[in-house]
């Protein structure tokens, strides 16, 4: 029940559920209950990049020449992305690590959250470059009502889960009086909070991020803010992997072989899951309204972005076995796909051809023939 950093209980890790079994002791990958998480780790590592590798210096001139309403679109979008990655850089660790029971999943969570911290650092790289007063951009995130409204829904499910875990790991199941206040927790309730949390993370990564990507790429379609787009492209490549991770977790939970309770919970929470998707889509449409309040930009306006919200929401729901809730079936901005193709992502010139360029890849195969023309 209580968390321990090195669980002394000798257990068969292959028989543990993803969450709420024994805490992980030995970080071993010679055997894996779900090999997919190990594959995701390897892929994520092969994607490694650093913001400083991307030259964003031309963006400064582009930004200065943008009309005010486009400056508003660009910078608001960037602030929203900063909020999302601030949450994602820490929350998976804080929420999931104390309850995870499989080493490959534990390491995937850490790898996942780490890559989000790179995204956060890249926003500072971008903002420093386009503004002489970067602090004003970041300070406003905590004051901007439109962003804070979003923060509320993005973090609520994480906070509910973390709060429940704290109580459960300290006091166990039951009703407890702490500082004069009564709190109840059961393992089943915790599992419910976990399911809803993973669902809301999936919504964050699969819908909210993509709406913001659409705005970033809309500038670059006009050959503006291209350094920024290059960075966002690398971020998008990482996010595609992260949302595949959460989709796998959700699908494993719903199947029930891993933990029969989770399958039951997935059924019970169906309506709530639909509500999470619906609310996120509505919020993103609201956000589109705010972005374009002073005017549209070439190639993107409020209506097109709202249609994209509906389109992407439908497709993400279907990916986890839910039914589409909007009538939109066509992607209103098909040009976004070209920006999301992984092999067009270029960091350094030598990496132009393959996305999974590995540093120090050496051919270790040597045989006698290789010395054939070698004389002393």
């Amino acid at each position: 029940m209580a968390y321990t950093t090195f669980n002394r209980q000798i257990n068969d890790q292959m028989k543990e559920p993803m969450f709420f079994g024994n805490p992980v002791n030995v970080s071993r990958y010679d055997q894996q209950k779900y090999g997919i998480f190990e594959k995701l780790i390897e892929k994520q590592l092969s994607f490694f990049w650093r913001p400083e590798e991307v030259d964003v210096s031309k963006d400064r001139i582009d930004y200065q020449n943008l009309p005010d309403h486009e400056k508003h679109i660009f910078i608001s979008n960037l602030k929203y992305q900063t909020l999302l990655d601030s949450v994602q850089g820490r929350s998976p660790n804080v929420a999931f690590l104390p309850i995870v029971s499989l080493p490959e999943l534990e390491t995937w969570i850490e790898t996942w959250a780490f890559s989000e911290t790179i995204h956060s650092r890249s926003y500072t790289h971008i903002v420093r470059n386009i503004s002489a007063e970067p602090h004003k951009v970041f300070d406003d995130i905590m004051l901007n009502e439109k962003i804070l409204e979003r923060a509320d829904d993005v973090t609520r499910y994480y906070d509910d889960l973390i709060d429940g875990i704290n109580l459960y790991q300290r006091c166990g199941e039951g009703t407890h009086t702490i500082n004069g206040e009564t709190h109840s927790i059961s393992l089943y309730e915790l599992k419910r909070r976990l399911y809803l949390c993973v669902m809301s993370v999936n919504v964050l990564e699969a819908i909210r991020f993509y709406v913001s990507f659409a705005c970033s790429f809309a500038f670059a379609e006009r050959e503006l803010m291209e350094g920024n787009a290059k960075i966002i492209r690398l971020i998008a490549r990482d996010e595609a992997l992260h949302l595949t991770g959460t989709q796998h977790m959700l699908n494993i939970m719903a199947a029930g072989d891993d933990d029969a309770d989770m399958a039951k919970i997935a059924k019970e929470c169906e309506e709530e899951a639909y509500a999470i998707f619906r609310k996120a889509a509505e919020q993103e449409k609201d956000w589109a309204q705010y972005l374009f309040k002073d005017g549209s930009m070439i190639g993107l306006n409020k209506d097109i972005l709202c249609q994209y919200v509906e389109y992407i929401t439908n497709s993400r729901m279907q990916a986890i076995g839910m039914k589409a809730i909007f009538s939109t079936t066509q992607n209103p901005i098909p040009w976004i796909n070209t920006w999301l193709v992984s092999d067009n992502v270029q960091v350094a010139p030598q990496e132009a051809e393959i996305s999974s360029y590995l540093v120090g890849q050496i051919d270790n195969e040597v045989d006698g023939g290789d010395f054939g023309d070698f004389d002393l």
């Binding site: 995701l40 892929k43 699908n251 279907q318 990916a319 992984s342 996305s355």
Partner: protein, 84 residues
Amino acid sequence: MPGVKLSNGVVINFDGSAQTLLEALERKKLEVNFHCREGYCGACRCKLISGEVNYINEPLAFVRKGEFLPCCSVPVTDIEIEIP
């Protein structure tokens, strides 16, 4: 040369000129959603109604029974598919 039958009746021959099913569909000007084209994002998910496909790279994206990813697969037999 396996044939690819679409749910709307269109039939395409997979003659090897395209590397993947996604490419073959695009050459016929069919609109299929895609992002990564490498099998890890799952954006191109289609329904596999009958037949068998082979993956060039094993996909990382979650693929349900009765679904497949055209971006990293080729048909082994005649197949019937549905593009969402």
